[in-house]
Symmetry: C2
Subunit: 243 residues, 2 copies
Amino acid sequence: MPVTDVAIDKIKDMIISGELAPGDRLPKEAELAQRLGLSRSSLREAVKALCLIRVLDVRQGDGTYVTSLEPNLLLDAMTFVVDFHRDDTVLDFLAVRRILEPAATALAALHMSEDDITELGALLDELADAPTVEALVANDLQFHRKIADGSGNPVLCSLLDSLSGPTARARIWRGLTQEGAVARTREQHTAIYEAIAAREPELARSWATVHVAGVEQWLRSTLTQTGTDADSPADDSPQAAAS
Amino acid sequence: MPVTDVAIDKIKDMIISGELAPGDRLPKEAELAQRLGLSRSSLREAVKALCLIRVLDVRQGDGTYVTSLEPNLLLDAMTFVVDFHRDDTVLDFLAVRRILEPAATALAALHMSEDDITELGALLDELADAPTVEALVANDLQFHRKIADGSGNPVLCSLLDSLSGPTARARIWRGLTQEGAVARTREQHTAIYEAIAAREPELARSWATVHVAGVEQWLRSTLTQTGTDADSPADDSPQAAAS
DNA sequence: GAACACCGAAACATCCGAGGTCTCTTGAGG
DNA sequence: CCTCAAGAGACCTCGGATGTTTCGGTGTTC
């Protein structure tokens, strides 16, 4: 095993064992390199790798630190990974999201604070007049993130965030300028919001299921229709709504 | 932004754009470094980072290749990330697993082939005589992985695999030598297997829920009882079963 | 007394070049 | 046709030199 990989493991162990706590500063490069028995070059490779997955945070001119290691931070790294998946696996991601999103929505109906629910409602009102596609997608992301956050489970929230990456492109594909999709999205978002506000977890779950399943169904039919040309689906079904 | 990070993005883009397909070989270090406009050292840091998340695969003496980029491979990297989470977030992971596992089990009841179901049953029989703790945990992992795989969704399968990491320790904590836990685990595994074999997705889902919820409940009570001493929970409730 | 600008130390960023090690290929020999 | 040894190609590791950034102390100015 390359010395760099050994170094990665050693640093990992130092963190897991508690020798390095979140927020702690690592010894300087030269020192740590000597301690781990390798050159600075190789150590830097290890640090860079751990940096990519948000375990370490290097600040030039200052030092290298262990991040907070919070779930949202570490799971964030998954977004990077998810970006690599090609369109033919988007459906698989969406299927997982269809499992998680309703559960998160139901949890949100139980655990969200009144203040958060108010803010959620405010998000819906922000789209009063004709929005741009970018604004719509951004608002949509925010809406779902707020619900995921409201589930009270940071792991669930981060996971949903990561899974939204691949579906984001689908959202754009979706003719968001088409009145049917926009209106339906608003309707379903409103329904989800009202179910949460009414503290009706099962109703909220059902609406979320309908919501995600709509996109899933639309995407599935589109992908099968256009075959390999999955980058720019042309056709659309007026029943589905953007998620 | 550091040149290394730029290099990471460029390589990422080369892959996403299709310039580099899965299995393709990258230009040699010196050549790629010149092309990206940086030194070999910095390039190596970028490659190492992409290596950690299984996007690239370097083989000494041969070359650097793009991996298959299959979901299971990329999601595998999450296992590494998950390792960093401390015990106080294990419950959050378990809660997510409690959402996914029943769904996966239900899907497995629908999609698993007869051959796979037969193999699943064989797994149950392998534990006939008193097993060691290691064998039990390994068998348990295999059982759940086979079901997850049977869901037909590789993303879901990999995700469950990753989430099983943190719970694995919990499995060991759990007094697996206690007859109650072992027997209950076997009972529930058998029930899940029979529900799948009978092609009863809802029944399978329910058993899976019960199964995971049991551990969750046990772990929750244990963690609250022992407070900060979560590394070696002493108490146990005979109702729960190892997952 | 407080705010600001300057300066030096510390630490990371980047680069370069020299050996070392491993893998694959090639071709001679059996 | 198979085996094995030599060579080329590619990555691995190292050490040092130089550039950049940040932090903290110091002195000046208002």
